[in-house]
């Protein structure tokens, strides 16, 4: 039993080392296929990360009139918070607004001087609203503009940003659904290409398989080395694909790439590096081993008239 197990591994490795050309070719094809799979996985993850970062930056500010009382503003805040689609509401009092303004523009001499000249606090109190979906902003705006507090509201900056926010959310949805469809198609292509490569490699072995059967080798004794080959080539292809992406990611992130770096485009890779390693190596092994099993099975069937 142990003898056979050891022999199956030995034969598998022997086939790889004695057919280096074919083995390298197969590894290269699986590597390309895995790059498709890995690339899609990364691009989807990175885009979603990027969009999530951008979405997080989207908010709507409601500015209140100068004479609006703080308790009224807090009442509005409480009402808005009850909306299920609202993620977060932040109250910014006149004082807080001034403080932030001063902090932000402390180096701008002209602005600071103008502020001193005015004497009083010119900044309005406001509510900063973050919603889960873009469509919610419109409802919220309608509620505020037509509700009982419309008289204390100076303006809502939703309408100014409406176009860009809606565009962002539509891109986000397109990436989520389209990305998924594209991933499926690319994964399918990768699987088909790998299957065909391995099928051709095993096709060239069909006479040897026939000979082994005539000598009295059991199906598992014949199948085993091909499975081992699939396992080894899949492992190496996966490892190379992972190292390739790792190298590319390191190269790109070290250059920063401006806004993409700032928006966490590369964080996705770093956060999911272990998962990605498992996907690449595991994917390589599964595709290649399964393809070998399926391809060799065709020649193990006993067909008789």
């Amino acid at each position: 039993m142990f003898n056979n197990f050891f022999r199956v591994f030995k034969f598998g490795w022997q086939e790889i080392s004695r057919n280096m050309g074919i083995s390298i070719g197969t590894i290269f094809i699986i590597f390309i296929a895995l790059c498709l799979v890995g690339g899609t996985f990364l691009l989807r993850g990175m885009s979603e990360n990027l969009i999530a970062t951008l979405e997080n930056k989207v908010d709507v500010s409601v500015y209140f009139k100068d004479d609006a009382k703080e308790e009224d503003v807090l009442l509005v805040k409480k009402q808005i918070e009850e909306f299920p689609e609202v993620k977060e509401v932040e109250y910014i009092s006149k004082e807080k607004a001034l403080e932030t303004f001063k902090e932000t523009h402390k180096n701008n001499q002209l602005l600071m001087e103008s502020l001193t000249e005015i004497g009083s606090n010119p900044l309005p109190s406001s509510l900063n609203i973050k919603a889960i979906q873009a469509s919610s902003y419109e409802n919220l705006t309608n509620f505020l503009m037509n509700g009982e507090y419309k008289n204390i509201i100076e303006k809502i900056n939703w309408s100014e940003n409406q176009a860009i926010i809606e565009r962002l959310f539509s891109i986000s949805n397109a990436v989520k659904t389209g990305g998924f469809a594209a991933s499926l198609i690319l994964v399918l292509i990768a699987v088909i290409v790998t299957f065909n490569t391995i099928r051709l490699a095993i096709y060239s072995k069909r006479e040897e398989i026939e000979t082994m059967k005539l000598i009295g080798a059991t199906n598992w004794f014949i199948r085993g080395p091909f499975v081992v080959q699939g396992l080894i080539t899949g492992f190496f292809a996966g490892l190379i694909a992972f190292l390739f992406f790792y190298g590319v990611e390191m190269g790109l992130s070290s250059r920063g790439l401006g806004i993409f770096g700032e928006l966490g485009f590369f964080n996705f890779f770093e956060e999911n590096i272990l998962l990605f390693l498992i996907i690449q190596i595991g994917g390589g092994i599964i595709i290649s081993t399964f393809a070998s099993l399926l391809a060799v099975q065709r020649y193990l069937k006993t067909e008789k008239n």
Binding site: E208, K213, L214, G216, T218, K304
Partner: protein, 226 residues
């Protein structure tokens, strides 16, 4: 040991390859099966190895009904028969030693036994000095010797040779035939198919002549003539 009982084989295109064949082969016997190309010699071997099923009749090997065995038993059945083909059927990625060792590895023999037995088989067929060569580095005769070593190393009950000298020159052919006779003397039954009159007549053992799928002669120490 082997019985063909009223065996008929008709292929799907209605081509009758064998018609009502009956004969037996005893333990340790040497049987030549001669006939022109297309007489049904190879079909007969394929039926014995259960590569094909007979349309009618039955084939018995020892106490096994060859055509009724389960597919899972087939490999174990084939290990009882050593086979040599015209095209050698060696594994090109394995050396001579590994090709012969493979037959023992299939049987699950230990490495130490393989290291002991394979050189003996190679020595018997006179190819020990080529043990580490690959098949493509050998002549036709050397390849056939390797195939023969692989067939006998498992100590089969019967050695089946399907036109083993078809691709060889006359001198090599004679050497290979001598080897078959030697193996037979050591106690293994031999079934040799050929269309070569000279070989059959030099062997001077039992001869079955096939023509158009039928046995037309079955003689002890027979001579082949057309």
């Amino acid at each position: 040991m082997i019985y063909f009982n009223n065996v008929t084989k008709v292929f799907s295109n209605n081509c009758v390859a064998l018609s009502d064949i009956s004969f037996g082969v005893s333990d340790g016997e040497f049987v030549s099966i001669a006939g022109k190309s297309g007489a049904g010699k190879s079909t007969l071997i394929r039926l014995l190895l259960n590569e094909e099923r007979p349309t009618q009749g039955e084939i018995i090997f020892e106490d096994i009904n060859v055509n009724k065995m389960s597919p899972s038993y087939l490999p174990y059945y084939r290990r009882k028969i050593g086979v040599v083909y015209q095209d050698y059927k060696l594994l090109p990625q394995k050396t001579v030693f590994e090709n012969v060792a493979f037959a023992l590895e299939v049987l699950g023999k230990s490495e130490s036994e393989i290291k002991r037995v394979v050189p003996q088989a190679l020595d018997l067929v006179g190819i020990l000095d080529k043990a580490s060569n690959f098949p493509k580095e050998l002549s036709g005769g050397e390849q056939q010797r390797t195939a023969l070593a692989r067939a006998i190393v498992i100590q089969p009950r019967v050695l089946v040779a399907d036109e083993p000298t078809g691709n060889l020159d006359m001198i090599t052919t004679k050497e290979i035939v001598k080897l078959f006779l030697k193996i037979n003397q050591l106690g293994t039954a031999v079934i040799l198919t050929t269309h070569n009159r000279e070989i059959v007549n030099s062997i001077q053992k039992r001869l079955i002549v096939l023509d158009k799928g039928k046995i037309i002669r079955d003689e002890e120490k027979g001579r082949y003539y057309l």
